[in-house]
Amino acid sequence: MNVVKFERVTVAYQHTVALADVSFSLESGEFLGVVGPNGSGKTTLLKTVLGFVKPVSGKVFILGGNGGSLRRVRSRIGYVPQRKPIDPNFPVSALEVVLMGSYPSIGVLRQPIKKERERALATLKAVGLEKWALHIAGHLSGGQQQRLLLARALMQNPELLLLDEPTAGVDVASRKRMVELIYQEHKERGLTTIYVTHDINEILPWVDRLMLLNKTIRALGSVSEVVSPKILEEFYGAAVVFAEHQGKRLVFTEDRHD
């Protein structure tokens, strides 16, 4: 079954095109990495999946539908947004934030009960934050906050997981652990995952397919199909150097800053 299907989708903000003629589909259980520079339409792609922005042309099918009840579809999608620090004075604990993931399913009137609390604690444990359950969410470090938001998304029991640069602003060591954690949860829960990043090396070892996006899809295929000097040099507009480290392939461009 296609979990996500875009048919010639174009999205524009007033007169600025953010995505142009984008077509792709994603099978259940796939892990898709989306790589592109700033302003390439990566976040817009996720927001189109969520129904936050409407295409000016083309069709979007999510979880077997193309519209239906948008709210019902969204409740089946786990979303980790681009990092914005949690207000350190906002009065919620880490556990409360994770519990928010259960709100759409338990409905109005009911409050989370023991069952949901136990599941929330187990989810916090899965992301290594069980010790911080009762800490104020905004007092956690940047990396911990990202793991917390991942836990909240997982608490929703999603079928589709959308991650928007989940490691932005996180130190290098935590970044690697975060991606490993996401991959592990993706496998264990049988999720379909779209992982958006500007750093191709971060996701190369983990993804089933890779999309190079810059308003339009520049390349889409397995890692071995996409990670070729010709395709990458065309995409980055610069010479590309490949390196091997601990059996993993790394990509560098000549004018790389980080």
Binding site: R71, R74, S75, P81, P91, M100
Partner: protein, 276 residues
């Protein structure tokens, strides 16, 4: 002191103050956490147009104020969404428009009605049994709806985009929240007046915000601050023979100042070593 409760108007005043303190403090927490303080001010000023219309048409000004406040609250929400305006801009438009309507309605009355002054600055001693019944009914509706959507309001206050992405009806819940603020404003008009109602909506919750990091505790502290401010303010206004609405607000501001000075949040976080 206790003998003053022998007068029905004093009993009504205290009942009114307690009702207003309770409703304002609870809804005030949502106002503070979502950064809607200016919305409260905008809706309060819309009440002026509603009250003036009530006087012009010869109907209960509180009823016309309900319609005006809820209408304005929903129009602010709608304008923000449909006209892609920032919320403060939408409020600024309706703030001025409804005030202008109020001035126009007063002009059309061709006479001055002294009771209008009571709605502007509050006349807690003028609260009647009928007012109390209406306030009780409104307060009941506000608190019931608040309890129904307690957790959803928390999620939206925490992160609106995330709440919407999770499948919550954020647009509808936002409109309900605006309607609750509008009803709270109407409940409070008789006690503190249109001009000062914003203070009760913001100060008790802001005081509680200084004192706790727990969501549930914040509601309790906000309620306690509002009730203390209302009772102490009312007693002081009786003793000093000064306007009650203003006294209640000044006592609230004093409590806020104390909370801000002694706030545990001002101390450096020892665990994480970060400034709060």
């Amino acid at each position: 002191m206790i003998e003053i409760f022998g007068y029905p108007f004093v009993t009504n005043a205290f009942l009114g103050a307690l009702l207003v303190g309770t409703v304002c403090s609870v809804i005030g927490v949502l106002v503070i956490l979502r950064g809607l303080a200016f919305v409260g001010a905008g809706i309060a000023h819309a009440a002026f147009g509603g009250v003036a219309l009530g006087f012009l048409l010869g109907i209960d000004p509180l009823f016309s104020a309900i319609l005006f406040c809820i209408g304005t609250a929903l129009l602010i929400q709608l304008t923000k969404k449909k006209a892609t305006l920032r919320e403060d801009t939408a409020i600024g438009i309706f703030f001025a428009f409804t005030m202008a309507l109020g001035v126009l309605f007063i002009g059309l009355m061709r006479r001055y009605d002294a009771r209008l002054y009571g709605y502007l600055f509050g006349n807690i001693l003028g609260i009647t049994r009928g007012n109390i019944i209406l306030m009780l009914a409104l307060a009941f509706v506000v608190l019931l709806v608040f309890i129904l959507f307690y957790k959803e309001f928390k999620f939206i206050a925490f992160d609106e985009e995330l709440a919407e992405a999770s499948g919550l009806a954020v647009g509808l819940l936002g409109a309900i929240q605006m309607a609750l603020i509008a009803l709270t404003v109407v409940v409070s008009i008789k006690t503190v007046g249109i001009i000062l109602v914003e203070a009760l909506l913001v100060i008790p919750a802001a005081t509680a915000y200084q004192l706790t990091n727990r969501y549930g505790v914040m509601f309790f502290l906000s309620w306690a601050v509002a009730v203390i401010a209302c009772i102490v303010g009312l007693f002081l206004s009786y003793i000093l023979a000064v306007p009650s609405g203003a006294t209640i607000v000044i006592v609230s501001a004093g409590l806020f100042a104390l909370a801000a000075i002694f706030s545990p949040k001002r101390k450096r976080c020892r665990v994480c070593g970060r400034e709060p």
